[in-house]
């Protein structure tokens, strides 16, 4: 249970970074934390204590595997996270070349 709660705490730390930090790069790091938290939670959901990795090498193996589906989901989620992180950093760099700052308090051409 504690291990699941620690995932949620990691999620909240990431959310805290996104909401309070003023530096664009730190906001992106906040997103990375949230993604780690969710991927960790997925892996833990499929975990069964004392069971094998889900690789079938013989037909007559005993069926004692951890759940392989969350692992496949984590792989997909990592790829999507890579895409969003790359796009965010690209936009952050382009913002830097326009405004000469990463501080969101000074990036305010749009109102409200």
């Amino acid at each position: 249970m504690i291990i699941f709660l620690s995932c949620i705490i990691l999620f909240l730390i990431g959310l805290y970074a996104i909401v309070t930090k003023r530096n664009l790069i730190k906001i992106v790091i906040g997103f990375a934390l949230i993604e780690y938290a969710i991927n960790l939670l997925f892996a833990l959901v499929g975990f069964r204590r004392g069971m094998l990795a889900p690789i079938i090498t013989r037909v007559d193996m005993a069926h004692k595997f951890v759940d392989p589906i969350p692992q496949a989901l984590v792989l997909t989620a990592i790829v999507i996270a890579l895409g969003t992180t790359a796009l965010m950093l690209t936009v952050a760099l382009r913002i830097y070349s326009r405004y000469k700052t990463f501080d969101i308090a000074e990036i305010r051409k749009l109102k409200g």
């Binding site: 993604e35 969710i38 989901l73 936009v91």
Partner: protein, 500 residues
């Protein structure tokens, strides 16, 4: 051989072919994209025709049967969403040719355009929760890039703001998928509906549902979470604004909410009245707050952006009422608002293309030469305000009828009363831009732009005059597909392997 996977496979394939065409034959990209979107439109019409006879078509990806494999579950509601998406994608692609000629690297634009189409199509027809997340992210990531397409300072800022909000929503959705998987050990929507019936309405059930509602509220821009939309939608090129405001927020926010709440979580007004009252509250808050804010806007597209937030509230209101007329009205409103707001954003693109500014105080006199644009604007706004016999009137009529049938007479009065806000902010553009005499020089809109606008005007009039047929063949079956509740699961498992 079934046509279901073509809805997302065709635009995905086009998205990979366009960069190659960009190297060898730039001039035919636009024709290629328009042809692909027209094919999608025809396929969507065929899909609507097929669902008249077969309420559910299940396609097993890679021949893995559900619940193990990923399935595409194509029912009347999916057919409806796919049709609306393809209409706006088609009109947007016609409009793009001349509008995008000022930009460099248009092949990148068209690649992203096809990817966002594939994402939205996939969300509307998938029958698998994680697959829904993947398609949702495909659409969302393409939309972040498209909002920043002009790479001006404002556009980049709007895109980053949108990305932060949108990703918080997307990741909250992913977290709720992880929690649901932990409880139900399945990802198939139909199987999950069956399992959740066994679990019952425990605190865990409400926690997950609350997280999903939060995620989709951000995606659909309901009022406490709307701040990104009035920045992001105006920053995008006009055909993309039209697509984003017209259908994107509804597929990613409204369709997903409705599908999960009705068909997977199995809620109805009968067994969860408090939840449906929350939906009504969210809707009313959006209509009132964003409508009043829109009255103060001076930027043409920003005003329309606030208007979208306000209009989406009506759709949530319809779903919250929860009886047949309310839900049918909400679905009808998705169609009406997609056509109306899509058209209004195209007129904004036409005006910006001719004058180069979006400030409505500087646009007086534009209406003299741009009569097609002006009349398109008038038709679009009359439909949104709700004047008969245009399509917007019948949509609003059904929502009000639903409120009366459910006994919420105060809600009916408030919903009609708040239409005054719509009238107010749209008249502001009409007065300042198209009616007022002024010295702004503007040439006639190019031919293809006028074709795109007239196409949507014709549909607005046609769907309004023929509303009985729309209700019978399009909106009614779609509403029934939602109100079927968890019968959805039996229908999916019963339709596996049925050929048509």
């Amino acid at each position: 051989m079934t046509f279901i996977p073509l809805f997302f496979a065709l635009p995905l394939a086009a998205a990979f072919i366009i960069p190659i065409l960009g190297k060898i034959a730039k001039s035919i990209i636009w024709i290629f994209v328009t042809l692909v979107s027209f094919t999608l439109f025809i396929l969507a019409l065929y899909g609507v025709a097929v669902t008249q006879q077969f309420p559910m078509i299940v396609y097993e990806m890679g021949n893995w049967p559900p619940p193990l494999g990923i399935v595409m579950a194509f029912d009347s509601l999916s057919a409806f969403m796919v049709l609306v998406i393809s209409i706006l994608v088609f009109s947007g692609s016609i409009f793009s040719w001349r509008y995008m000629s000022h930009y460099t690297g248009t092949w990148k634009f068209y690649t992203l355009y096809m990817l966002i189409t594939a994402g939205m199509m996939g969300v509307s027809i998938t029958g698998d929760l994680f697959n829904m997340f993947v398609f949702l992210e495909i659409a969302a990531i393409s939309s972040y890039a498209l909002v920043a397409f002009g790479v001006d300072a404002e556009e980049l800022e709007a895109s980053f703001k949108y990305m932060v909000m949108g990703e918080v929503g997307g990741l909250t959705f992913l977290l709720s998928i992880a929690l649901l998987y932990a409880k139900t050990s399945t990802l198939n929507l139909a199987d999950m509906a069956n399992t959740l019936q066994v679990v019952g309405q425990t605190p865990f059930f409400w926690l997950v549902l609350g997280m999903m509602l939060l995620a989709f509220s951000i995606k659909a821009a309901f009022v406490p979470f709307h701040s990104w939309l009035p920045d992001a939608h105006p920053a995008a090129p006009a055909p993309i604004s039209s697509l984003l405001s017209g259908i994107f927020i509804k597929v990613l926010g409204m369709y997903t909410t409705a599908r999960l709440v009705f068909n997977v979580f199995g809620l109805s007004r009968g067994n969860a009245p408090v939840f449906f009252n929350v939906l009504i509250g969210l809707g009313l808050l959006s209509i009132a707050f964003a409508g009043i804010t829109a009255l103060n806007q001076k930027d043409y597209k920003r005003l329309l952006g606030y208007s979208s937030v306000s209009q989406v509230g009506y759709i949530m209101l319809g779903f919250g009422i929860g009886n047949f007329y309310g839900v049918a009205g909400a679905i009808f409103y998705i169609l009406a608002h997609a056509l109306g707001k899509g058209l209004l954003f195209l007129t904004s693109g036409s005006v910006v293309n001719a004058t180069g500014t979006r400030d409505i105080t500087k646009l007086a006199g534009v209406g003299e030469n741009m009569s097609t644009t002006a009349w398109s604007f008038r038709f679009g706004s009359m439909s949104l305000i709700g004047l008969p016999p245009l399509v917007g009137f019948f949509a609003k009529y059904f929502i009000v009828l639903g409120a009366l049938k459910a006994g919420f007479w105060w809600l009916a009065i408030v919903a009609i009363g708040l239409s005054v806000l719509t009238l107010g902010y749209l008249l502001k553009i009409e007065n300042n831009v198209f009616m007022k005499k002024g010295r702004t020089k503007a040439n006639k809109a190019p031919f293809t732009m006028r074709v795109a606008m007239v196409f949507l005007v014709v549909l607005i009039v046609l769907f309004g005059v023929g509303f009985q047929q729309i209700i019978d063949f399009l909106v009614g079956p779609a509403a029934n597909a939602l109100l079927r509740g968890v019968e959805y699961a039996n229908l999916v498992f019963g339709s596996v392997g049925v050929s048509f």
